[in-house]
Symmetry: C2
DNA sequence: AATTTAATGGGTGTTTTTCCCCTTTTTTGA
DNA sequence: TCAAAAAAGGGGAAAAACACCCATTAAATT
């Protein structure tokens, strides 16, 4: 049986190397190389013979994150299968990643045997999902506010400023809008996101990666 | 040369196993066993022949976190050397961990060679520190609000409620205190933590693990 | 061309938050 | 045990946040 090649994209070097060591210990898989972020990966892929069978991709990375990178891979290298690897159990993130074209989504607290199984199944069937992730997906489909909340750029900008300990007056100045418009943004978002006050906005923003700590 | 034994304490199983695979590939080290949290570790340590030379300890874990666990290890098994392993670059966390008795603090984005070096040096000298962490420590010593911020239980309770989208009136009722006392808590904390408003409290709480999303 | 929808902003009021200065009670430590 | 410090509570006022109303304009739909 031939050996399949894996590329690992993960910004924490130690984890990257640790997972590489693990993958290399699997019977039919070997690590081709590792990258620290999406940008580095795209550069490497341009070189011939650098195309792996599977990419293990972290979701949260600087420079070019897993979602954006996967999107690009799907379009430019559709034959490569991407498996997301993340601590994020967040519904929205998982859905985004799968929409972007990931063939699987592994939470970082799975066993190594599951990782090996995921690699094997992905080679064989083209995809693999754990029960955990499947359940999250099913729940989120029944859930009102999972996929469909779509914030506008201007609203996101407003939220980020709110998270930065600014008053609405200050935000209005920064965004070149009347305080009254900001009032409207706030009222709107409170309703749309179902929160009670600014704190709720901040929590939402952090949970959904809109505002980074 | 004899082989030194390592125990890994890390809640994300895959990472735990991946790091184990890495450590086992080092010349003079082998993994004795792995644990998912501090509680599990303390149970295992009670069995004879389960005492490792070094414990690689994650800082953020459920049940019994790295700081508390390290504190206990220091008192009960002072001969075991604990090296903290974390993504947290947060000054306060690092200082807490070192105060608790950790002999080293590795950020999760170090190279595997550094991990091996840290293990070797810790066996040889009893401690190891990367330049990164040393710099953070030096900076934090010159910094006013690094190590000395010590929140009282009641203050932490107040902050958690603030993070829960409650008004101060509601918090006062919940904590059986006068709204005016809550006023005092707030004023105090704003000054102590150097924030401008409730949002600042929320950010501080999330950054420092006081409030979990 | 007519209608809807989205973005902007105004008016007016209530509630909450924030700030500053103060007293009383309880706890702590020397 | 006595003084100091910390915790709890208070008054009053200004600022900010929140709620709900509605008007205008521009853009998108139909």
């Amino acid at each position: 049986m031939k050996t399949h090649t894996i590329v690992i994209v993960e910004d924490h070097i130690l984890l990257s190397q640790a997972i590489a060591s693990l993958v290399d210990s699997f019977k039919d898989f070997s690590v081709l190389y590792t990258c620290k972020n999406g940008k580095e990966l795209l550069t490497k892929l341009k070189t011939p013979n650098n195309i792996p069978d599977i990419i293990l991709m972290d979701v949260n990375m600087p420079i070019l994150n897993g979602i954006e990178t996967t999107e690009i891979i799907k379009n430019e290298y559709p034959e490569i299968k991407v498996i997301a690897l993340s601590v994020e159990e967040n519904d929205v993130t998982i859905i985004k990643m799968l929409k972007a074209g990931a063939k699987g989504y592994l939470l970082k607290d799975v066993e190594k045997d599951i990782l090996e199984l995921a690699l094997i199944e992905t080679i064989k069937n083209g995809y693999y999902h754990t029960k955990d992730v499947s359940n999250i997906l099913i729940n989120s489909l029944n859930d009102d506010d999972s996929g469909k909340i779509q914030l506008k750029d201007r609203e996101i900008e407003f939220i980020i400023h709110t998270c930065s300990e600014m008053t609405y007056k200050e935000i209005a100045e920064k965004m070149f809008l009347s305080p009254k418009t900001i009032d409207g943004y706030r009222d709107n978002l409170f309703q749309k996101l179902n929160v009670k006050n600014r704190i709720g906005l901040v929590l939402y923003a952090i949970k959904n990666g809109i505002y980074k700590l």
